[in-house]
């Protein structure tokens, strides 16, 4: 599953980093009907999480109300050099992951 992430490659200790992620996904609500009146099964990314240095720093739980191609912007306090790991999964069991390393300087 295609996603784009934006993480600063370098940050000062104690700095608040802006993290952005956007994922290509149709986010099928389950309320849309086809030509025969049957509902397209609901298929949305239900969970998105971000771990920083092994610790969970962000989690989002989504439902039918979130638009297609979800985009998130959140803030993380830079305290150690390490990896930011993003993971997500949709209702059909398909998921994805992205990672980025940030170097923290004093």
């Amino acid at each position: 599953m295609l996603a784009r992430i934006q993480v600063p490659s370098q940050a000062r200790r104690g700095e608040v980093m802006t993290i952005r992620i956007s994922i290509q996904h149709a986010m099928e609500t389950g309320y849309r009907l086809d030509d025969f009146g049957r509902a397209y099964p609901k298929n949305v990314i239900h969970t998105l999480s971000c771990h920083y240095g092994g610790k969970e720093v962000f989690r989002a739980e989504m439902g039918s109300g979130i638009a297609a191609n979800p985009y998130f912007e959140f803030y993380v306090l830079a305290d150690q050099s390490g990896e930011l790991r993003f993971e997500w999964q949709d209702d059909s069991g398909v998921g994805g992951a992205e990672r980025a390393t940030v170097q923290v300087v004093t």
Binding site: L2, R4, Q6, R20, S22, Q24, A26, M27, A67, A68, N69, Y71, E73
Partner: protein, 269 residues
Amino acid sequence: MSIGIWCAVTPWSSHSAESIPPIFSISPPASSTPLAPLGRSGITFASPDIRQLQADNFANPGMLWVTRGETIWRTPSGVKGQACASCHQDAQQSMQGVSARYPRLDTGRGTILNIEGQINRCRQEQQATTPWVYESADLLAMTAYLNYQSRGMPIAVTIDTDNRTQWERGKAIFHRRQGQMNLACVHCHEQLVGRKLLTDTLSEGHGNAYPIYRLEWQTVGSLQRRLRSCFNGVRAAIPDYGAEELLALELYLGWRSSGLTVEAPGVRR
């Protein structure tokens, strides 16, 4: 009420196109190379939040298609195992400004090639593989990727003796009343520019930001998808994707927006 009386009071039968003062008008070109009138890009009619979303290269959802297009560019396809990059190398250099010159006339066959047509021509003739259908994820991604390489460059579709006939045809379609609404493109997109159509502001109808991410569509769509929905809007028969009628109209629109900068991938409501 009889049909005859109803017809007599039909507003559009007595309403001529000339009764609405034009915002700007296109006079028939005297020379064989007509000059395009410089207009206003559609984004200038959009709300501040939409303008901001288009300008932000990360948040702009169309950039997901650009990213996908970049992957396809490097991925071999077809029996010969050739990728786009096998011939064209680095798209950032080789494709710069290319799509700003489309649609163009395919002089060999006498037909109009838009950027989608050119991509599929390459797929069939160079990569020996199947063409992508309109609005498929791959074709939209490749179109977005190619047009993105011309971002910020002026559209340069010129009319000469070769493509003049097709341009005339596109121009006629642009000025032709059609559908149950009995409206031509020119009524909304030249004579009523800046006025409201439901909650949207009518723009000049330039295609310089295509393919666009439309919030209503929740996805990226081609210029032909937009044109088809305008045909639907005036309750006219909708031409098929890739129809000659749409290609001629695309050529006319390309000429008409010449000088405006490419903004792909655009964002609209």
